[in-house]
Amino acid sequence: MISELPFVDIPGEDESLRQSVRRFVRDYVADLPPDIRARSWLGFDAEFSRQLAARGWIGLTLPPEHGGHGRGHFARFVVAEELLAAGAPVSAHWFADRQSGPLIAKYGTEAQKRFYLPAICRGEAFFCIGMSEPGAGSDLASVRTRAGKTADGWQMKGHKIWTSNAHHSHYMIALVRTSGVPEDRQRGLSQFILDLKSPGITIRPIRDAAGDEHFCEVFFEDVELGDDALIGSEGTGWEQVTAELAFERSGPERLYSSSVLLEEWLDAIRRRARSGKELRPSDQVLAGRFASHLTVLRALSVSVTCKLEAGESPVVEAALVKDLGTEFEQAVPTLIADALAATPDEEPVPQLARTVAYLTQVAPTFSLRGGTREILRSMIARGLGLR
């Protein structure tokens, strides 16, 4: 079922993180052109992540006894928002901070927590998410990668795809079948933490249409895993993955993918106005439309964060906000492209044009990654009592 999303404020103590994060981040990215910053959570920079960690801004939701900061989801929201709005290259630590860390904190053994969480919080252990396979996209329960029990652990065989950052990561948390057959669907699935240096693992990056290599294919050839690679219980992988996806879908990253472009465009219009040209009514309306959408989306996202903070798992609410958010993220490059092309007699702004071109090319992925629009809408429909 779906619950109300009331208007709530970010608590002052969490809000107070903002200015120091902003100063650090804006400084760090100052020399990067906007079309590079527009990569945002696809951009990789291990040094950046380590510096963030040194300042205590990774693992904000993780428990202090394992190196985390025990600050909660609002604090993470503020930091994430500042990172994304500035277009900081966050991908190195992003998946661990957002979902692998919380997953380990929730389902891991004491030994696993002691081993992984402090390294995550120091910005030294990077994780990737091994869910999708060539035959299992939206239909995630049909994964065929298998792990079979051996005398002293597990042996794994199979193939993951679209794994963001696999080539830069130390670990993968993979969803695999440990019993039964694909037709058993949700039953018989488990999650494993893999050290990506293990023998038998091959990682092959895939180039995207913009020329970047951020996701990969990962092959497992009889990879030997210890018993301690299993996270949570054998057979409860589906339940764990569902909880993990609630973390993945509810964050502010579902609003800000086009943020760098939006800010650049606003600045370009302000410069144009300062040069003596009249502010065009259509630009005012468009700027206002972006602002009214963003204001509402952000408030919805904060409201979902409040539910996470209260220990709920707002799966349907997060899907609803993600659906609205990705629509906005996709509308920004589309509408700005039209606004720029509305003045063919004016001198173009090259870096703005490059940023539009980049985002236009990757925008279709906004409503694919983390669950497609159609899949989310089916979840929402069920939450509304249809079916």
Binding site: A85, D283, R289, T295, A299
Partner: protein, 340 residues
Amino acid sequence: MDTMIADSVEQILQVCCDPQRVRHVEADPRGKAASTMWEVLAQSGFIDALCPEHMGGAGLGWREAAPIVFACGRHALPLPMAATLLVRAALAEASIDAPSEPVAVASAASVLDDGSVRADAVPFGLAAGWVLVRLPAGDRLLPLDGASRSPFGGRGSLSADIRWPAVPAASISLPPATDQAICWRATMAALTAAQMAGAAERVTVMTIDHANNRNQFGKPIGRQQAIQQQISVMAAQSFAARMAASIALGGAGWRVHPDAAAVAKARAGEAAILVAAIGHAVHGAIGVTEEFDLQLYTRRLNEWRMEYGGESYWNGVLGRTLLQGDMNALDFTRILTAAT
């Protein structure tokens, strides 16, 4: 507190403002049905929700009183409850006694050369006893006795073009606004957005209900994925409208920040388009009949969308403020939200 108010308003409106009574008032906005309905509301005490306690009110701000306005939309209340709440609060603050009839607020008004006063397309103008207008000389509450009014909107609409031969002697002057922030149009835009959010919720609930009960091809149409996807979009828009209005009505007093009002009206207007369209699409032919209740709510969504400024107007206002400043979009949004 929030749910207590929401629950009791809900109970009152369920009884005094069911769809048949709504139709009766629409058919005769100053008839018996209308005055009976108004009496119930006036006696409930909710119309003084925003007045200070020492003046017999409840001393609430919009933050607590917003559920009243959402409920007005959810029940298609054919009386200017939200406007009355607002004006009574402003009068109480100035220690002026409020008239007992329902009050409408004009989006714009002018004094003509012959001294007559003109206000066009006044929302709820047919059902009100008084109208608040902003004239060059200041804000005036004008009685509708002696005014001529003619229906402005389509069938069932309560909006009116109003003419006063002169500023009536019985009119009430509001003190000059000490703070520039009182923009009646913006405040009413926010309240209209909240009513739209209420109506959107009602349309969404009706549509889910219909999809689960209407059978075609041997099963409920709500089992069809095409319908599920549409209803999911509608629900998301309905949540957006509610949040948009909640931001504007998030304050502790009865004043509304104009930028937040702009967000509310622009965003709720966009949501209303999709909610009304999908609601009708899923209902099929039955949805456009007079007898079926859906039209009571979708008609209001479409009408309210245009009142007190539409999407382009408010987005334009907001965009100008954003572009004339030097704040980035994130800060603009943050500060706007914190200001309410």
